[in-house]
């Protein structure tokens, strides 16, 4: 740690302080309050000062201990390497342990309604992350509108279940099929696009679906949303305290006391199985020609063409398969909530799912699980501090990017990297 380094870091943190001042000065420092029915500006310079000092000092230490180290930027630290190697070696055992834990989780003494709800929500995001990982991690197509397929799945499930009275197990594949078709629909116009252009179009697609749902009132009831979506049944046995005349329920069939938790536990296992299917499918398809072609396409499109891989079909299948799993997750969401409205499918959902995939380390299935637990858990912990949730979320992302720039469990290099390359 030379004198030169400290000098550089000081200069850099001074600069950071100036930027922080320019940003937070107007945003935080000038606050309008109503006094005697007149709006007056009340300066809060002390808070601004604290923020600026925090930013500058934080930057100084990050500079000293992370950025300017001898190692090449983007190289894994020895600790990161050790973790990666450990996971490589013990990967199978850890996975089995994690699955075993997930299976017994509902019967843990602490697993009350609150914990089960969080677990179900996390599992939904893990499934979405794994689904999107096919598109982003394997095929290398940055999709910022993934929530569209989640929405299509949820709405097609809801509409079929409400209007035709079909059961969950019939509506689920239909919803997946619909979402997959929308995946192809999105795929066609973006075949020639790459990178940032692709991202913009997919982002727009996500918004289009949401606005369509908002405005097609006859079909979707617009902002009112769809209510009374049937709950799933246990192979025909509903989870109800007072069933309709002559209908056997889950608890009477198994001779149990009625307990609302039974339905929650069933939902938990349902999403667990759906998520595990997604994961198993991804692991399997990576070894099949189509999965291999996805990864090859991510690496080098021209080489793919010269080997006779059809890039059009390859991209379309990636979009379709990824979308299908989004659709499955959407069906689950609809049946769990029993109510859906376009509000559940805003861009922030897409952003969270992309963040899960990218922060986990693109292409890493375990990384998706870890970053989901980290990010969704964090959002949950900050539930009581409503207004600070997004701040915490952003802070978490910054921390991961500072300390693990390639994602928690990344093996591939990022497409863009700040700083000098050795």
């Amino acid at each position: 740690m030379g004198k030169d380094l400290i000098q550089k870091s000081l200069k850099d943190s001074l600069f950071t302080g100036i930027i922080a001042l320019a940003l937070f000065g107007p945003i935080v420092g000038l606050r309008t309050v109503a006094k005697n029915e007149v709006l007056v500006v009340e300066p809060k310079w002390f808070v601004v000062l604290l923020i600026v000092i925090f930013c500058a000092v934080g930057r100084f230490f990050i500079n000293l201990y992370t950025f300017r180290k001898e190692q090449r930027r983007g190289e894994q630290s020895s600790f990161g390497k050790a973790v990666s190697n450990f996971l490589d070696e013990k990967g199978a055992q850890i996975a089995i342990a994690a699955i075993a834990f997930s299976i017994i989780f509902p019967f843990m003494p602490f697993a009350d309604r609150y914990w089960m709800d969080i677990a179900i929500m996390m599992m939904t995001y893990i499934m979405l992350g794994w689904g999107l990982n096919i598109v982003i991690g394997l095929a290398g197509l940055l999709d910022l509108g993934y929530v569209a397929f989640y929405a299509v799945g949820a709405y097609s499930y809801a509409l079929f279940a409400i209007h035709f009275g079909w059961s969950f197990w019939i509506c689920l594949p239909i919803a997946g099929l619909f979402a997959g078709m929308f995946g192809i629909l999105l795929g066609f116009p973006v075949l020639r696009l790459r990178g940032d252009y692709l991202a913009i179009v997919t982002l727009a697609f996500g918004e289009m679906i949401r606005i369509l749902l908002l405005n097609w009132y006859e079909l979707t009831k617009g902002p009112d949303g769809l209510t009374g979506i049937p709950r799933p049944s246990f192979f025909g046995l509903p989870f109800k305290r007072y069933p309709d005349e002559g209908v056997e329920t889950f608890h009477t069939f198994f001779g149990l006391e009625y307990d609302p938790m039974q339905r929650i536990i069933f939902l938990y296992y349902l999403i667990l199985i759906l998520a595990l299917i997604t994961n198993a499918f991804t692991i399997k398809i990576r070894r099949l020609p189509v999965g291999r072609a996805w990864e090859a396409l991510r690496e080098d499109e021209i080489a793919c063409k010269s080997l006779g891989v059809n890039p059009r079909n390859t991209k379309l299948t990636a979009f379709a398969v990824g979308a299908m799993f989004g659709g499955f997750a959407g069906s689950f969401f609809a049946t769990r909530q029993a109510f859906i409205s376009p509000e559940s499918f805003t861009f922030i959902e897409s952003a969270i799912i992309v963040a899960i995939v990218v922060l986990g380390g693109m292409g890493s299935q375990t990384g998706v699980v870890l970053s989901t637990i980290f990010l969704i858990g964090l959002i949950e912990v900050f539930r009581d501090f409503e207004s600070y949730r997004m701040v915490a979320f952003g802070g978490a992302m910054v921390l991961i990017m500072v300390f693990r720039p390639r994602g928690i469990l990344a093996k591939r290099k990022p497409t863009i990297m700040m700083g000098k390359h050795g």
């Binding site: 020609p289 291999r292 690496e299 080489a303 006779g308």
Partner: protein, 237 residues
Amino acid sequence: MLNISKVETFYGNIQALRGVDVKVNDGEIVALIGSNGAGKSTLLMTISGVNKAATGEILFESKSIANLPPHDIVNLGISQVPEGRRIFSRLTVEDNLRLGASVNEKGKNFDQDSKDVYDLFPVLKDRLSQRGGTLSGGEQQMLAIGRAMMARPRMLLLDEPSLGIAPKLVNQIFASIKNINKEKKVTVFLVEQNAKKALELADRGYVLVNGKISLEGAGKDLLNNPDVQAAYLEGGK
């Protein structure tokens, strides 16, 4: 076997090929030499369909391929080893080979075909589970050629196989190309900057200058041609 006539190719407004005529007969090794930017790679990309010819005709076994997409052209039996190798560096050597075999149902013969590739390049067999990017330049070139051979081509297009490779390995790779041609009966169309090596190997050669063929003839004749010597070979006047 391959008949190219009056082909013109553009990149946007820039014309890269200005009416190229090239003929490759069954069983031949034909070399195309020329300086940087003459349009050599463009011609190969145009044959394989990655670039499209604006005008002109490309016949492969009397079938027009000028408007076919690249994967159909590979299916017809033309495989390309692109410039700079372009192997999939984060996939394993085996996956690279499997991708070469992914065209139509030929993947079924993976065991047989990969054995043929290992006979050509024994080093690849020891590296099957290694990532492509960890191979040396020469090994990567071998992998790129082996990958193209997995599609069982009848014609192999090679773009600068000597680029950035140690001289000793260049000799080995050129020997393999000859082997592919003689033993496996694959017609070879080769683009090279290394004019001496290419013309020594080739039955016939073409010289491409500014998007046009300026000279053609038997490989040995071109080697001894004073103009070629002056422009592309060491020791020229």
